[in-house]
Point group: C2
Chain length 709, copies 2
């Protein structure tokens, strides 16, 4: 299901694309050229290679230019245009130049043959006067090709295979999103995030689909529609433009240090709804009523589609989590951490294999990669050596940055280089209205419903910002460019491009004014949280009620069994598992876990920093992880297993004390700054360790998005 | 010239390959599939995509397995099998399984058509009952294909396009080699290294070519040769097997801390001879005597080939250096260092663009990338922020590691998966003898000649080790798999594979015993050098005489003009340029350079660490860069410009004092280890800075190969 069946023909290209981050597969490359015979062909091939290098160079130069300009903007503190918007502008400029400036005459290589084959095989052997040449199928070609522009070789050349976005550019972006999810705030708002991401996206898709169907019917009435446009197409359009993009807005949120809950809601939603949208759109694509080409409503097909959606989503999730868990186990039970390079390479390969595994199992690789990233951050990250923690973080940060900017500059370029644009004013206006309505139908009703259950209400100003800042980005683009074969799809693609441009430039640029207009708190340190600074009983209650019961069950399970199993931290399994599993538990518990149990880790501060996020989760918070080394606040009494209090209470107290302790430590960490230049630091901190303030559910690296640039 | 003309047909594939690290180009992908019509094709395409994912997964799993086993070996201190040898073994096992275990029945997709086209265009439009399908040329197919094995779909699928090695896997390996070249020892032995790399490789190629020609003539006599095998083919074979591989042996050298001069000779030679071999082989490929197919000796063609060799080599060198210099300028004159992610991205993109630029200019990308890497290490590295220094180093380390192990495991796999092996016992025996003789003809006579001029002789034990440890690796493999179209090339490929296997396993595994047998010094700290530990006058002389005059001229030029121009260090240009260039010099000199001039950088230790390598080169060595901060040894009197001593003397003194100072600092750095656990360190060292010992010509990161694993 990684492939939308409609565009599956193109998937033959994925044959090449998928393998190509590292390697490349072209079946059977042994030919037999006796020299001199095909010098002309050689020349042409060489020329083509040269040309391709030059084309790719254009993109590299574009990215370089973007980087330099971003720097200039950051340097000058110019905030209204984000890097992605900038990349799009540069892409646009190059697109204009290529379209109107450069005219490479069309290479008349194409020979049309009338052959009596009645199938289109993937490989074709052509007998040219005694010699056999192998050809591979690239797809069906529209006979009306080049109807509006001259079929410029140059423009064709800078057009990438859409599958490249799915198989090469999206995975690192999505993985990075999962790997850098701020887990504390994410889990605190889990219920709301899931509601927005799942129900919201489905609602939005259907609302947009319905509005667009009305629009299309109107277009048919006034005779503006040249081809078919079924309701499923409308729904498909709804699904692809419902995926909000985390990039631009969250970069701004980060820079301004916007309220953490708003941040968590926006980021969580936009990360998860990417996954929802991709599976939803492929399910809609798979929706095929029993009657061929009837495109009428069919309950069976509908249910089947829904089943496909659920199956693919949960399957991909399971695969992603499974690979993550496996990486955690491998890093736990080997001493790979002595060799950071090996560890990083393993981490990278395992994460990549998730994608391949999911695609090989006909699941959705991108979704699997997302959940793999989250699992890696939650478990594996704690097993890595500090060096590898840095390396993996920085590696995926870089890959994410490059892929992201590449996609956005390609977007700009494609507005001019794509040769089958269909801009229909009616459709475009309809789409903008539909997107607006769809977003509204997602945010406002769901927020109302959620507020019924939430203690910490989602204020109306939050809702307006979420409404306004629902940008569309890389995922929407990738989904829409995937299939541009039919007239309907071409129209969708062109319209989607405009929606992305508009939201990134206007909404993205307007986010900062919007925030101040809505009087949203800015300048909040995401690691502190005003609502929990006073750790009294009321706040305990608050935290408790905020966390939904499924989350609490999961938390307890995770803390008691999964963390000890997959990482070095947490209570030893020997303490948590029933006695009958004794031998197994002993075998699975690392020596470090016993050390944790005995609270003997006073000397190895390195160890502690590594397991920081977990040590705090376990309860014996912050055992002298601070730089001064003097304070050894040790909340041992919080440990559920030793104190005999109920686990729910323990969770509550932990959350509260964790936060409280955090504040204390945060303050303490600031102290050396105020000290005279020569404080008597006893030992220099380990060079690559993360800053020692941390708390339950915080992501291990204090704020990856903030470090981003 | 990035393409061997003979295999240029295949370069059409590079169309895809080149773009595929990041992106992918498949010209004109808009087809028109009205749904339901080609469900069968879709199914097939989907299946193919699934299959490809699974195939790539095999390789990822292979690499993962290799990593885990490497760890085990390192953990157990098992040294006889290096990771590359291991990767080959795993590849071999998978190859055997695929070949004999898995039998995917051949997919009968191929349809042979007899058509009356009299050319083989790159793109073919096939009219299949009214619909047009686009096909791309993949190459000519041997009609005797599958003559020895069943043409297994699976085996075909795990066969990568050879161009992938050149365009995706080799560049990071070669760049890393250039970026991590130990510059101090490299420059000290520059003359010898150039002699071995250039003259040695040419000698070796010709010797091997001649021996092989004899062998081939013998084979013809006994009737063992089935096809043509010209003298140019023999020379070509000589060129490709003359490239020695730095990977395996140097990993061992590093681990054992072998004598630094031997290390420098081996590493320098193997890095440079890769570049020489690739250009040499393409020049031999371009050698085409006037008389068609005559393959006789033609002086004009010979001279032309030689011209091509020189042109391509120097052109690629110039391009690589130019891009490196540009990166240095950009990083110097912008304040990009405030944003390590941007900086790293820029560095990566610029380095990659070298490759593309060279390919677009019909130069050799791999060679350009090598010299780009060296330039980046020499200049740009010093402008980077400490964070970026780490990031770039680690990024290319990882890419190198992955690419290297991928190539070696693919090598193992290809022994069984490649379907047109030609193993000819006579040819193989001949080749082994030829390789042995060729290496001997390279090392011994040249060493003899070099020793005439060298003060620090290359001992006979060194020569034996260099002879023995001349492994063949990634470059040889990539060159030989590039063209396997003809019978001669297939025989070469199969033989080359065996040579690589033999040298990696036998010579690679035997290096450690060999070193002790030859009583080579091991356990030498590469950053210290026994020959200069006593920094008396004799050693000055020694250093001076060791460095050849072209090097000294270059050094002075570099130090006086290039370093100040391209980095923040060195004397300000205002001091070194003639007065007439005053305004220009002022404009090009950074404020930091003036600070260096005024020796005012006592407070910003970070700055100093950054410019460490240069600060020392400039003469005011080691201004309080040490951790204790107490010692501020300041050899200001060494500065040539201020003291008026000749620059040669300055160089000499610098070299010597630099070394001397290094030792002092090295010692001092060790001290804290012996100190009681609470030394009164005044300020913790900056977290990501390299260790503070450094010296002229040392590479900025103390020893990348040592950090490798």
């Amino acid at each position: 299901m990684g492939l939308k069946p409609n565009s599956a023909l193109k998937a033959s290209k994925t044959l090449f694309v998928l393998l190509s981050l590292f390697t490349f597969l072209l079946v059977g490359s042994q030919g037999e050229n006796t020299a001199m015979d095909n010098v002309a062909t050689e020349r042409r091939a060489e020329e083509s290679h040269r040309q391709d290098s030059a084309n790719l160079l254009i993109f590299i130069m574009l990215l370089t230019l973007t980087i330099l300009t971003i720097w200039l903007f950051k340097h000058r503190r110019f905030r209204f245009l984000h890097e992605t918007g900038l990349a799009m502008i540069y892409g646009l400029l190059v697109g204009v130049i290529l379209r109107f400036g450069v005219h490479v005459p069309r290479n008349m290589n194409n020979v049309t043959m009338n052959c009596s084959v009645n199938a289109s095989p993937a490989t074709l052997l052509v007998n040219v006067s005694g010699r056999f040449y192998e050809y591979t199928l690239k797809g069906e070609v529209s006979t009306v090709k080049g109807h509006d522009v001259q079929d410029d070789e140059m423009l064709r050349k800078v057009t990438f295979d859409p599958e490249v976005f799915f198989n090469i550019l999206l995975p690192p972006i999505i993985f990075h999103a999962g790997y850098s999810l701020k887990r504390r705030h994410f889990f605190r708002n889990l219920g709301s995030i899931l509601a927005y991401a799942f129900m919201g996206t489905v609602i939005s898709s259907f609302v947009i689909g319905l509005v667009m169907y009305g629009c299309v019917t109107l277009m048919k009435a006034v005779g503006q529609l040249r081809g078919d446009f079924f309701f499923t197409d409308c729904l498909f359009f709804g699904a692809i433009v419902s995926a909000t993009d985390p990039v631009t807005v969250l970069a701004i949120f980060n820079e301004l240090k916007v309220d953490v809950d708003l941040y968590a809601l926006m980021f969580g939603e936009s990360v998860l709804n990417d996954a929802v949208a991709i599976v939803l759109s492929s399910s809609i694509g798979a929706y095929q009523p029993a009657g061929d080409n009837s495109h009428t409503f069919d309950a069976t097909a509908m249910i089947k589609s829904f089943g496909v959606f659920l199956g693919v989503f949960s399957g991909s999730l399971a695969l992603g989590v499974a690979t993550g868990v496996m990486t955690a186990l491998v890093t736990k039970f080997t001493k790979l951490r002595d060799f950071p390079l090996l560890e990083t390479a393993l981490f990278f390969l395992m994460s990549w294999s998730t994608f391949l595994l999911a695609e090989a199992c006909e699941m959705t690789g991108v979704v699997a990669v997302l959940f793999c990233g989250m699992t890696q951050a939650h478990y594996t990250f704690n097993n890595l050596s500090p060096d590898s923690q840095d390396r993996t973080k920085q590696l995926f940060e870089l890959l994410n940055f490059l892929a992201e900017n590449f996609i956005f500059s390609y977007m700009g370029l494609t507005l001019f280089s794509f040769q089958s644009h269909v801009f229909n004013p009616l459709f475009i206006i309809g789409a903008f209205i539909a997107v607006f309505l769809g977003r509204a139908a997602n945010i406002y009703p769901l927020s109302f419903l959620l507020n019924l259950g939430r203690k910490n209400k989602i204020g109306s100003n939050f809702q307006h910002v979420m409404m306004f800042a629902g940008l569309r980005g890389a995922m929407t683009f990738a989904l829409s460019i995937r299939d541009t074969a039919t007239y309907a799809r071409q129209m969708m693609f062109s319209t989607t491009l405009l929606i992305v441009f508009f939201t990134v430039w206007v909404c993205g640029g307007g986010t900062t004014p919007m925030l101040s207009f809505m009087s949203i708190r800015v300048g909040v340190d995401s690691d502190q949280d005003s609502s929990v600074i006073v750790s009294d009983g009321t706040q305990h209650r608050n935290t408790k009620h905020e966390s939904a019961w499924p989350f609490r069950i999961w938390y307890n399970f995770d803390n008691t069994y999964l963390k000890p199993l997959l990482t070095h931290s947490g209570p030893p399994l020997t303490a948590t598992l029933p006695a009958c599993c004794g031998p197994l538990a002993r075998c699975l518990t690392s020596t470090q876990a016993y050390e944790n149990e005995g609270h003997q880790h006073n000397d190895d501060s390195d160890e502690l920093v590594l397991n920081d996020g977990n040590a705090t989760m376990y309860g014996d918070v912050t055992v002298s992880t601070d730089a001064s080394g003097t304070r050894t606040t040790n909340h041992k009494h919080l440990s559920a297993s030793t104190m005999g209090i109920t686990s729910e209470e323990a969770l509550d107290q932990e959350l509260a004390f964790g936060e409280h302790e955090l504040v204390i430590r945060g303050t303490r960490l600031v102290l050396p700054m105020d000290d005279p230049p020569e404080p008597t630091v006893t030992l220099p901190p380990p060079p690559t360790s993360p800053p020692p303030f941390s708390d339950p559910f915080s992501d291990p690296f204090s704020d990856p998005r903030r470090n981003r640039l």
